[in-house]
Structures are given as C-alpha cells and as structure tokens.
C-alpha cells in the first residue's frame, strides 16, 4: 500500500521533539531566515512512516541477495553494538589525542590486520569508500611517478571487464585510459598487456579475482611485466573477500589495493553506504600516502595530520565507525576463520555454478570460479525472455536479482555471488527457484517474465520517464 511522503503527512507547525523556543537571535539581525519550510512528525507518526517504508525493501536479513561484485553478506549485530560504545561513537575527531588513545590503538590494530592479511607494508585508512580508495591509490602512484621524474606517464591500462570506477577514477586523475583485451577464458591477455605497456604507462588497474569471478592465474607475470615497464600494479580489491586469509596480494606483486570494508569485512551496506576504502600500499608507494597518519610516540600514539604524502582525502581520519565494525569482524573470525570465509565463499559460488550449469549457460564453463558464478544469456535464446526479465522474475520468488549486464564483456551477463554466509539449504532453495524459472522460460511462459515482478510492492518502474522529466524533490500540489 502507498505510503505518503512525509511532506504529505507531516504538520508544518508540528514537531516530534520537545525543545524550548529559545531566545531571539537579536545579535544576528539581517542574517536570519524566516522559519524553515519543512514539515515535522510526532514520534509515533515518524516511527510508523519509516517502519512502513522499510518493509518495502529487500534485505540480506530476509533472503539471499546474490548481487555479484557487491558481496551482500551477513552483517553481525555485535559489530553494530561495538560501534555504538560511547568511547567510539561519542568521540570528537579533534579532541586532544591523549583522550583518544583507544581509538588510535584500534586504528593501528586494524591497520596491522589489513597489512598482514594483504602482505603489504603500509595502509592509508582515510578513504571513505572503494572509489575513494581507488582515487587515493592512483594519487599515490601519480605522486610517486612525479617524485621519480616520471610525471610524463599519463596512461592507465584497464581490462574491459573492469568496474566502472576504475576508468572513471583514472580519467578523474587526468590519465588517459587504454583497455586491455581479454582472453577467451576471461583473463587479461598477456600479449596485449605486454604490447601496451610502454614508457607512457603509469599503472595498470586489475581486479583480482576479476569481475568474471576468475582468478588471474598469470598475476605474477602481469606484475613482472608491469614493473619491468616502470609502471605500478593497482589491484581493485573489491573481490578480496574471495581470497582473504588464503592469498596475500603483496605476494603477487601488487603495489596498491583498496579494500572495501563492507564487502570483505561485513560492514553493512545501509542502502548505499557509508562504505570505507582503506588502501594498502607497497614500500615504494607508502611515502606518498595522504594525511592523516598514525605515528608511534614513546608513550602514546599520535596523529600526523599535516604534510603527509600527496595531501588529504577528506576532513578527518576516515570511517572510524566502519573501522570498529571491521575490526570486530576480524577478531571474531581470526586468521583461521578468514581463510574459511574465502573457502566457503568460493565453495558456495562453485556449488551454484554446478547446480545451474545444465539449465543456464556459464560464461566460462571450464575450471572453477572464485566467489561468483557468471552466466551469459545464450540459454535464453529464442525464449523471448531477456536477462532483465529473468532477473525481475526472481523478485517474485523472494530473491533479489543477481547483477545483470555486468561485466560488459559477457552478453546478457548474470553474475551471481552467494557469499560465505549462505547455508546450503538457502542455496538449494535458490537453485531450485532458478531452475524452475529457467524451465518456465524455456517452456514458453514468457508472460511470467515480461510483466515481472508481480508480487513486489510495485511493478516495473518507468525509468525513462524519470530521466526525461526529472522530478527530484517534492513540490506542493498545484492549487
């Protein structure tokens, strides 16, 4: 049922807080506004508004959320509780550092875990999300090249299968982007890479495991070629969850890699952030990392907040609230549990792949996948059903659709990432549902797909209308 906008139910002179009116600000004459044109809700109305709205959402707490490349895993509630301890949540970023030693210790320990797990000597904690971390990594690389008199290197090589953030970030920093070809088995084409690695190349950006869900089995050779060409190896760490505790990127020759704490270390996605994107760095890049930086004093930890590396990524020290959650997750799993995370994530994905390969068409049937199973739409040929239709029909079965049409290198791609926190029973329920849907598609029940979803709070939305005549804010109804 339709939930009105708060502007339609709120009272324009109503409030859900009890505050005094406060004296007039007579010292600010001429600088003040004449009221704020926003409705208020009493607390019961507010609670109901948001609880009702919430029930229109799918969530990982409700069912499998198999968004490949997004890693929707269980978010432990312990982590939420820890992040709300007054000593963390009610702590000001500019208090005297002598009053925040616990926070600095936590950041220092988190850094130690990140460095140890990746086999890298340094980590910049402040980036606020994965894309922000990519930016940080490329700025380190740029600064390193400039310091070495290599500022003329203006090209970044990116595989066709890369996340959109990779070329966007490279372009942002002023690099020109050149694509690297992909082999038939879904990996970087080494000969194309070698051909394109020249004196103008600043870095390569490779996701590993890559967005086809495959491990770049030539990664050590990729690193060697890159380094030989005087370029740096930026690894997109979005899929680190597939190898955490199992493989250290530092052992593979990586120079910089961001880590999405919400993907690998379970901080909640929250309907689109906040994330956190610390960047681990090789010895060569470490000196160029931005402020702030934790420094060890004789008796206490300190913060170097100025004049570090290439500058500053944001106002304070990064996403402390996410650090607490991620560190709680790490401690909970330990070295043994984190390796198990990677193994179970990969096992679950291969299980889904195995159970669906006879009714759908895997994009790379040979060999194991890593943490996600990629299918193309060849199996839908002639059914009149598209990847999109199929995905929307999943909604009616109680599941969130998989990632669609990504990576771009696979036609009608369907990228399924179950994560390690799904039980076999839930995987079986999911596979049965998809098998039944696949059967229906092949049996010519196209209408079941074209109109889907039927059972969601809304039917398909008109995205074209939204973009053609953008309505981005509520306006009062015309009188």
């Amino acid at each position: 049922q339709d939930e009105p906008l708060l502007f339609e139910v709120g009272g324009w002179d109503k409030t859900g807080v009890d505050l005094p009116d406060g004296p007039d600000a007579d010292d600010l004459a001429g600088l003040t506004r004449d009221g704020v044109d926003l409705p208020g809700l009493s607390e019961p109305e507010a609670v109901r508004h948001y609880v009702r709205l919430s029930q229109k959402n799918h969530a990982i707490d409700l069912a499998l959320y198999p968004l490949g490349s997004c890693t929707m895993k269980h978010n432990p509630r312990l982590n939420e509780k820890m992040a709300r301890l007054a000593g963390f949540a009610d702590l000001h970023p500019l208090q005297p550092v002598s009053t925040t030693q616990g926070a600095l210790q936590l950041m220092d320990r988190l850094a130690h875990w990140l460095k140890t797990l990746t086999g890298m000597p340094a980590v910049a904690l402040s980036p606020k999300a994965g894309a922000h971390g990519e930016l940080c990594g490329l700025l380190c690389i740029k600064a390193a090249h400039e310091a070495a008199g290599q500022g003329h290197r203006r090209t970044v090589l990116v595989p066709t299968s890369a996340h959109g953030t990779n070329p966007a970030t490279a372009a942002f920093v002023g690099y020109s982007v050149t694509e690297i070809a992909q082999t038939d088995d879904g990996r970087v084409d080494l000969s194309d890479l070698a051909a394109k690695l020249g004196p103008d190349v600043a870095a390569i950006m490779v996701t590993n495991p890559n967005t086809c869900g495959l491990f770049e089995r030539d990664v050590i050779e990729i690193a060697r070629l890159t380094h030989d060409a005087g370029a740096y190896f930026y690894c997109d760490g979005a899929n680190f969850n597939a190898i955490v505790g199992k493989v250290r990127p530092g052992d593979l020759g990586v120079d910089a890699m961001h880590i999405n704490l919400h993907k690998t270390f379970s901080t909640p996605h929250g309907g689109g952030g906040p994330g956190a994107g610390p960047v681990v760095l090789s010895q060569a890049l470490a000196p160029f990392a931005p402020a702030p930086w934790i420094v060890s004093g004789p008796d206490a930890l300190g913060l170097q907040e100025q004049d570090a590396g290439f500058g500053r990524m944001c106002a304070f020290h990064g996403q402390m609230g996410m650090f607490v959650r991620a560190y709680a997750y790490m401690l909970s799993h330990g070295a043994d549990g984190l390796r198990q995370v990677a193994e179970d994530a990969v096992l679950n994905a291969n299980y889904v792949k195995a159970r669906l390969s006879d009714v759908m068409s895997p994009a790379f049937p040979e060999g194991p996948c890593m943490h996600e199973a990629l299918f193309d739409d060849a199996w839908l040929d002639g059914t009149g059903v598209t990847t999109l239709d199929f995905a929307k029909a999943m909604i009616d079965e109680g599941f969130h659709p998989m990632t669609m049409y990504f990576p771009l290198v696979v036609h009608g791609a369907m990228l399924i990432e179950p994560t390690e926190t799904e039980s076999k029973a839930e995987l079986d329920r999911f596979c049965e549902a998809l098998r039944a849907l696949a059967g229906a598609a092949k049996a010519g029940e196209a209408e079941r797909f074209k109109g889907a979803p039927f059972l969601a709070p809304l039917r398909r939305l008109d995205e074209t209308l939204a973009a053609r005549k953008p309505k981005l804010a509520w306006t009062p109804p015309a009188e």
């Binding site: 409030t15 970023p93 309907g271 952030g273 401690l331 198990q340 979803p453 995205e463």
Partner: protein
Amino acid sequence: MRYLPLTPEDRAQMLGVIGAPDVDALFADVPAAARNPAIGLAPHAGELEVERELSGLAALNRAAGAGPFFCGAGAYRHHVPATVDHIIQRSEFLTSYTPYQPEIAQGTLQVLFEFQTQVARLTGLDVANASMYDGSTACAEAVMMAQRVTRREKAILSGGLHPHYAATTQTIAHAEGMEIVRQPAAIDAEAAVIEAIDAETACVVVQTPNVFGVVTDVSKIAEAAHAKGALLIVVTTEAVAYGLLKSPGEMGADIAVAEGQSIGNALNYGGPYVGLFACREKFVRNMPGRLCGETVDAEGRRGYVLTLSTREQHIRREKATSNICTNSGLCALAFSIHLSLLGGKGLSQLARVNHARARELKAAVEAAGLEVLTPRFFNEIAVRTKGPAADLVERLLADGVVAGVPFSRLDPGAGLDDVLLLCATETTTSDDIAALKDALAR
C-alpha cells in the same frame, strides 16, 4: 564459526556436486607458492572475548559526553533522538544494498527522495543529491562541478574555509587538473574573495558560519561572482545553523554543500558522516553523486528510482561526472529521520537554543578575561589565548575540561597559534560553561 553456516558435511556434499576433491582444488588458479600462506594473526574468538577487547579500547577514550566539552570545528555533538538509531538499525534499511532494483527498494528510494527535498529546502536551492561521503569531499566535488559548468579551471577558496576542506579540495580538484587559489586564513575573511574573482574563475568557495564561527551574508559575493561568470559555492559545516541563518540559496549561492553530521549522526571520531549537496536546477545534469527521482510503475502507481545515471561511473565509465559509487545512505537516512522529527519548527528551536548556549559561552569566556574574535556567530566562537592555544587546551584538560580546538591543529602554518575555537550546543550545560570559566580563571 558463528557466521559461517556450512557444516563439514555440507562442504563434503557440495564438493561432491561440484566434482572437486577438496576446496583447495577450487583455488587451483592461484599460483601454488602464494596459496595458503601462514598468517600470523590470532585465531577466531567468541563474542564475549571480542566485546571485551573492544570495550577495553573504548574505555581508553574519553567520550565527549564524559564532561565539559567544547570542540566543534567541523564536527558537532548534538542530541540525537533514540528513534533515529532504532530505525536505522532495522534490517530492511541496514542490510539492503544500493536501490538498483526499485521494485524491492522503495523504502530506501522514498527516503532518498524525501532527503533530497529536505536538503533542497534547507539550503534554499532547487535540487539536492542523495548525499556524499562528507562535507569536505562534497566541497571538492562542488568545485569540480563548477569547472564542468563554467568550463573554467580556477577556484578561489576563502580564508574562512575549514582548512581540512581546503586541503581536501586542493588535493582532489588539483588532481583533476584545476588551479586552486587558497586565501590566507583569517577570522572574517569572506569579503576578501571578491577581489580575487576574475574571468578565469570557475567558482569561489565561501563558508558560513566559517571555521572561526563567523556568520556572513554572502549576497555581495554572489553578485560579484555572477558578474564575472563564476559560481558561488557556499559551505556549511554545522547543518543546525540552517535552522536560524539565511539559506545559501536565499543569498545567491549556486551550489551549497554541507556536513550533515550534526543532524541524526554521532561524532564517530570523524566518520562516517554525510555530505549534503544542492544546486540550482539548471546545473542538475552536471551534479555528482546519486539522484533519486519520481516516476510511475507499470500500473501507474507513484514510485521512485535512481535516475540521471548517465552521469555516473557505472554507465559512463571514464566520462562520468565523478568516480563516486557509494553515497552515505544510512547516514542520510539518520539525517532525514531526525529532521522529520524536528520539522522546520523544531530545527528553528534547536538552532535558537544552540545560539543561546554559545552566547552564554561567549559571556563566560569574556568574563574569564579572554578576547572573543568572532563578531557574529552561530554556535562557535574563536578566542585569543594568552600563549599557544594548544598549551591552554592541555592545561584545561588536566582540570577535566575539553576546551576546544586550537586552530593550529587545523592549520599550523597560519600563524594563528593563539586562536582557540570553542563550540556550544544544546548538549552544553550551564555547569559545563561554569567549569570552563573556573578552569580558565585558575
């Protein structure tokens, strides 16, 4: 392992279905030498143990609420109703993804639409996006957006802009190829930007209340900027000030950015926070970040979707307006809930209470013999200390008072070592202020 549902029997069965001898076979693509390294970290721990370790670390910090506390300078301690934190912890909000599938994400989407409307109205502008990482990165994005709009390369940053915002903007916008002119830090420096505006200027960035707490009517700066074809970007680090002060839009701003932490969000030692970003309608296709728009479903019912995504990285890749992927969705939700509880009326009340507390703070500081440098303020003032402000903060800390932020911590090179920034909010009691006064008098 409490978070891992698979049992040994499950794993064995599944490997059988896959046809793999063991799980390591699934990692065959990983170079053997790099596989299964020894990781010198602790083994897994029970919830009780983890809670003990983290509680122990938390106890080493002095929570802001533990005593008299006067830090502001970009992050503000406010009271957040318990309802806010309750709602944002609902599974359906906390554990959902970016609303790419609108049919099963209307909860998040409608909240974003409401948030955008709230931010547009607070800032007095036409449209707002669905949030940014924080105020500082929003500021940098605004500067780069001005470049896209004006096709000019130069940005002028006022000396009243928060030094961290200036540094962030300098780093990021410079990397993107812009020339950043940062004016020297000064208490009441806003008007000085007018002189610097020229025909190459893409934008001027002015903060009000500025980092020293000074409230400024930027209308004249807007006129000057517009006369030269430049945009005016107005920055606010204390969103509660919107409840009392003229909005950026009302004063002629083209883009307004702010740190929204004050409303709905805890201090969190600096993050996560939530950046607000609003602008005039004509610039909408140059905006960074996510936008949520109204539309209809196949049955004509009203609904919401992410829209204008042709600006974004996942569609445009290297031609995107920004590389931003995530926003700060859950913090935006907290902001929106708190603001919907406040309403315009409550926000005005809250702002007046904040202002009144700051006036009380000012009087106390003056009574203690210190010079207040901020001529017009909302809830923050800058004070001239006798000797380095950092030393005074250390001395007062010994008396149990967290006295504020030495400006030198933000900008050591500015030559303003004797400037202390103090803030009061509705959480500041008269006892707190008396304790500060007494400690100052000692």
